[in-house]
Symmetry: C2
Subunit: 437 residues, 2 copies
Amino acid sequence: LLNENIDEFRRLFLDLHPYDQAKFYVKQEQDIRLRMYHYLSPKEMAAIFEQLKIEEQKYKIYLKEMDPTFAAQMLSYMYTDDAVDILNELDKSDVANYLTIMGDEAAKEIKDLLHYKEYTAGSIMTTEYIALHANETVQSAMQILKREALHAETIYYLYVIDEDKRLVGVLSLRDLLVSDDDTMICDIMNERVVFALVDEDQEEVARKMSDYDLLAIPVVDSAKHLLGIITVDDIVDVIAEEASDDYSKLAGVTDMDSGDKNPFSAAKKRLPWLVILLFLGMMTASLIGRFEQTLEKVSILAVFIPLIAGMSGNTGTQALAVAVRSLATGDFEQEGKWKLIVREAGTGLITGTTCGVLITLIVYLWKHDIFLGLLVGFSLLATLTVATVAGALVPLIMYRLKVDPAVASGPFITTINDIISIFIYFGLATIFMNYLL
Amino acid sequence: LLNENIDEFRRLFLDLHPYDQAKFYVKQEQDIRLRMYHYLSPKEMAAIFEQLKIEEQKYKIYLKEMDPTFAAQMLSYMYTDDAVDILNELDKSDVANYLTIMGDEAAKEIKDLLHYKEYTAGSIMTTEYIALHANETVQSAMQILKREALHAETIYYLYVIDEDKRLVGVLSLRDLLVSDDDTMICDIMNERVVFALVDEDQEEVARKMSDYDLLAIPVVDSAKHLLGIITVDDIVDVIAEEASDDYSKLAGVTDMDSGDKNPFSAAKKRLPWLVILLFLGMMTASLIGRFEQTLEKVSILAVFIPLIAGMSGNTGTQALAVAVRSLATGDFEQEGKWKLIVREAGTGLITGTTCGVLITLIVYLWKHDIFLGLLVGFSLLATLTVATVAGALVPLIMYRLKVDPAVASGPFITTINDIISIFIYFGLATIFMNYLL
């Protein structure tokens, strides 16, 4: 494949889409990668690195194997947002080193972006946008466009700024194309610009872009100075990331990475949760231990423990999922917390009554003991209602306290609900013991 | 607000972004909506309907309140993909009716699209694209572009076709802008086009577009005839939808809609799962019932039921989530099923051993009974290993059998694992009974 013939390799390789080039690159062993750095220019490697989707620590390895000058040049050829993403994974001293080697101009742009906090609009924006002034004509705008087209990350939205670099309008390339040459920009621009604030959460920005079907959104500071733009391809990544984040939490897997190729690293990610849950599970065990006398007298009670605990876990997970989604999509803000809680309580009562009546009948038919049936039925009713409310309440409280809602993950809620349900079930059983004997 | 003054309303309202217009529209009562149909033209309503994100059955209500001719005109003004989405929600007779009222041309385009199966590329594509021929010059292409710019859904990718409408290349508007007027299209077009087949799954298409960072993708039939395009805004919706789909399955909520405003409709969506799980839970109960003798002799066994069942449920959910994700992201195809299963078995053994040793120690310290500790520890080890494999295996089997993997949702796996773990725990307890007495 990658033999001594440089020209042949370059011809075949550079004909590929950068995404396919990147796929090829990550599959190679180090010796082949080293050869690639010699065969390709920093600019060509930059196109590959813009497409890389790899584990964060790998960037460090790849950059270390390159000649520092080559690496610095490559970084300066990349769109600034992508270069910043990579630099964020490196050691501070290496970053400083690369920035020194690069040209001053590129280094400055990157330095500015490195300051923004992770997960904000600032951290994912790029500075390669096209800005026009309001008093230009369509013709002169087209000239600017042709000149800058190759460097800008998108040329399909053009932003209009005043002398102070304040954002005053936006127009699409489509608007420009269908207008006459001597039309003024200010006459065709749209002054109602949808923008993102530089410290806005990236999830918020993603929602805005998807609501308004934007291909790019301008990022401004509080005085409306244009700082950069975010393009839709970055947003697609954000949406996928955030969704998979909620999903991991529900499953109780920290930092889910299906790319774990060995069981040790997979176990390492899952064990923290499992050990915490083991200790929570011990609470359930010691709770039942307190009811050992009840159990010894009526050992049949044990038969329904997994059913009641399991059902409360299931319904809690359902309520949790709905609450987390409505926090994520912003529906919650519209509705308010009380409405959500009242609705969940209602839902819990309805599902609890249905399941409670059902199980009372089943137990009666199975064991011919109406009191046992009623005990299991009422426990299920109470348990499902409480568990549904708990499933909705915990993420809301986390959200209020601005605690990381990862604490409210699925298994956690399930285990909490186990404890609640055991308490209700054995509590009722102990109180009505006489009827069961 | 919306008083008798039409002009004032139109001035203020039409100044809004269509997304905000749509938000306003859905908040109104019927009488206001009826007035809006009089104040606005079918074309203006079309812009609103393209932005609507509402429950499917509402489209029917809204269209029914319009004059049929108005509704038909509105549909013909919409991008065909959006019109088709709405028509798919209506009764067959109404669809036929609207298509008859519409012009022949619009009706034909829509009819063609209505044939495609849901969730395929065909069902979300639109026919408003710009196609060029290879032997045109840049200048004539720009003429075509300016003429068609207002009707096309995107003008930023231009597709090049031969006499038979077969796709032969693609170029971006950027390529066109930076080229000289008399360059031939065939000299600047890219012949390596990333395309979607018309019957390809929309999730697959979404992945392709996000991998290659495309703003639009051409849709072709098996002979490479260009049929339509899919734009990135539709794909953003698909990604969000698919992710929330996986999420709902994990939570055991059918068709999660956080917009449910009353507990009855929420309960209706959750009850089917809960009732199925209730019956599965009865299997656990009857399984324990079979071990009643064991339980009567050693009632302390009941204390650890929720812990063992709960832990097996948790680990199963983790494995399930990882497997479902790796099916969704396509990582799985690269890796193969055996590797995944072997890795999960390994992960289960490691987590099982860790938790097993821990619980043996805890139980020994608590109850000073080493046999009880060993029983619980070994049960946990066996249970976690089996549960982890089961969590990964079930979605893979569903996938193989092409059964809807919704059956493999989180609560289902959890309940299956409850049964397995109870069986292992009580099985071991019964065998080693003598040591426990």
